[in-house]
């Protein structure tokens, strides 16, 4: 009860409504479910086709990799971790916003999460799917990827559980599974709504099966709410753990530029930064195309921009600390790494990173920029690029010149590297288009709750 009171107080204080005025339960249902139940438009078909063609490109790139081996990529000694690892970290970072919005913001009682959590969770799942592809492809023999999992086998071998790479296997599979469960549990009542609204028998059957016969009885809801809260509770440390463990892949090694204690928090902040950037990249066009401005309001865009500004500064602090610690450590190799990062052959990438991840996002201090969807969308693309450059610098620049100049080398990505990277956009957007078409992209029952709460509040 007190939780409820607290929520309404928060809503009152912040003034600007989270839902445009004039909505009731039925208008919310109508607006959210209409997108799923009406026939597909030509725009959707076009977008899906483009994404699907890219996905076919990915399949082709994977086929080439399977038949000819990792030699088609630009990796070699000393840079053995090329695009595959950059893209893995980049995608999994993007996949952090979903669970952050669903879990942490739920525990913090941030009501504005309601309009975007479902979408962000779906984005998380698809980003994790893209991310998980890369280390598997990078194995060299992707068809035996299950050797990573500890199972009793005829070789009498176990994976090495003292290695962060195996921690990573557990972290990513757990994260993917728990994100899926969280997403599906959130969907169950909404699937029941779709079951009851669908007219065509096939659709009614499909949504009937996947909603498991949900009736929304009082006891159903009690167990449901309790579980949802507990899932948020266990997912919160999980989000933090996943990118921390990804950073251990680097930090536990002895390489200059990798061997640093700031990596876990700096990676987690970067993940949230890029995740929110991707949520904005996707929601700004979608709210326009599907006329969801009533639910994803300017206030939502503004709040997400503020989260980006905050996490962006944590990331900037990380960059600063890397420079400071290199100087303060007195280690020759660390100092050389910084010089090489700033002025070496990949120097432009570093300055590009500072421009895209630190300098340009400062525009978010301005309220006018935060409330201009076009500018905000451009900035979200800039930040996505910046976060990719960050991983490029961490992976490539540290590897290509380490201790002995005799073992230095250069890294040049090949066309196959780019094809695989672009191909994962095909996978991501294909899944996203299917999601928009067949599932409610805004949490319907939570919106009903929100609309009811705000409307009764007005009567007081």
């Amino acid at each position: 009860m007190s939780v409820d009171d607290q929520r309404t107080t928060v809503a009152r204080q912040s003034g600007e409504p989270l839902v445009a005025p004039g909505h009731d339960l039925e208008s919310v249902n109508e607006q959210i479910n209409r997108i799923v139940l009406r026939p597909a438009g030509s725009g959707w078909l076009f977008g899906f086709t483009v994404a699907f063609l890219l996905l076919i490109g990915l399949m082709f790139a994977i086929l080439a990799l399977m038949t000819r081996g990792t030699g088609i990529w630009g990796i070699n000694i000393p840079v053995a971790w090329g695009f595959a690892i950059i893209n893995f970290v980049w995608w999994i970072g993007i996949g952090h916003a979903g669970t952050l919005i669903s879990a942490i913001l739920l525990l913090l009682k941030q009501q504005w999460r309601t309009s975007i959590n479902r979408f962000a969770e779906a984005m998380t799942l698809f980003a994790v799917a893209c991310a998980a592809l890369f280390p598997i492809l990078h194995l060299g023999r992707p068809w035996v990827f299950y050797w990573l999992l500890p199972y009793p086998n005829s070789m009498q071998l176990w994976p090495q559980p003292r290695s962060p790479l195996i921690w990573d296997v557990f972290a990513v599979t757990t994260y993917g599974t728990v994100s899926f469960l969280f997403w599906y549990v959130g969907l169950i009542p909404d699937l029941a709504t779709l079951r009851d609204r669908a007219v065509k028998p096939l659709k009614r059957k499909f949504y009937g099966i996947v909603s498991l016969g949900w009736r929304g009885s009082a006891m159903h809801w009690r167990r449901y709410e309790m579980l949802y809260l507990l899932l948020a509770g266990v997912s919160t440390p999980l989000v933090v753990s996943v990118h921390s463990i990804v950073s251990f892949d680097f930090a536990v090694s002895v390489l200059p530029g990798w061997h640093t204690t700031i990596f876990p928090p700096y990676f987690v902040a970067g993940a949230i930064y890029s995740g929110f950037a991707m949520v904005l990249t996707l929601t700004i066009p979608i709210r326009k195309i599907y006329h969801l401005e009533d639910f994803i309001t300017m206030r939502h865009l503004d709040t997400m921009a503020k989260v980006m500004l905050g996490t962006g500064w944590i990331v900037a602090y990380g960059y600063l600390m890397e420079l400071f610690v290199a100087w303060y450590s007195g280690s020759y190799f660390e100092q050389f790494l910084v010089r090489n990062r700033l002025f070496g052959p990949f120097g432009p990438a570093y300055w590009g990173l500072i421009l895209t991840n630190v300098a340009l996002p400062q525009a978010l201090w301005s309220r006018r920029v935060r409330r201009n969807p076009v500018l905000l969308w451009c900035l979200s693309l800039v930040i996505n690029t910046g976060m990719w450059l960050e991983r490029f610098i961490i992976v490539i620049v540290s590897l290509h010149r380490d201790f002995l100049p005799s073992s230095w080398g250069m890294y040049y990505p090949t066309a196959w590297d780019w094809a695989t990277y672009l191909g994962t956009f095909g996978l991501f957007f294909t899944l996203l288009f299917l999601f928009i078409r067949f599932l409610p992209m805004i949490s319907n029952f939570e919106m009903r709750e929100l609309v009811h709460r705000t409307s009764t509040e007005g009567e007081h």
Partner: protein, 182 residues
């Protein structure tokens, strides 16, 4: 359909309400009247509704806690078994029982098992999947997942009487009253 069966079995009476507040006060009245086999259906969680109906607590928190502990202990035992007993592997002279490096995997198995068991528990305790339920026989019940609120007194209640229960529910001034057949 009608006439094909001379007698239909009564499952209960269903009252329909427009607002969750109406449902809540009706639930309290039903409870005061002494009905026990009662259930309410809503398109969103209504706070205080389970209490008003006198419904019990849920075991979900205990199940999630137990599953989490099992995940932690199971993860530890498993890692101990593979690194110390079954496949002891000397890495730079480090001890076989290097427990600090077990922690990340133990954490993940804790979360994984807690989440999976929690979801299974929620679905199983709710009696799902259940494609058929008598309340679905009421055409108006389609709105229970959309914008209407329903209260059902089931025929299995010792106090249930087809006519008296109907009169009592009418007295609560519902937006609609529906007969639920089994």
């Amino acid at each position: 359909m009608e006439g094909s069966r001379l007698e239909t079995r009564t499952w209960g009476w269903m009252a329909e309400f427009d607002q969750p507040e109406d449902l809540l006060s009706a639930a309290e009245r039903v409870r005061e009247e002494g009905y026990r086999n009662v259930d309410a259906y809503a398109p969103m969680p209504v706070h205080g509704l389970p209490e008003a109906l006198g419904l019990g607590r849920t075991w979900i928190p205990q199940i999630v806690l137990a599953a989490g502990l099992l995940g932690a202990i199971g993860g530890f035992v498993f890692l101990y078994y593979i690194t110390v007993i079954h496949y002891p592997h000397n890495v730079g002279g480090r001890p076989f029982f290097s427990w600090p490096s077990y922690i990340p995997i133990m954490f993940e198995t804790t979360v994984l098992l807690a989440a999976i068991c929690g979801v299974i528990a929620m679905i199983a305790l709710n009696g799902l999947p259940k494609p058929y339920h008598p309340v679905f026989n009421v055409p108006e019940f389609l709105r229970a997942s959309q914008d209407k609120f329903f209260l059902v007194i089931e025929a299995s209640d010792p106090q249930f009487d087809k006519d008296r229960t109907r009169e009592f529910l009418e007295g609560l001034q519902p937006a609609g009253l529906h007969y639920v057949e089994d």
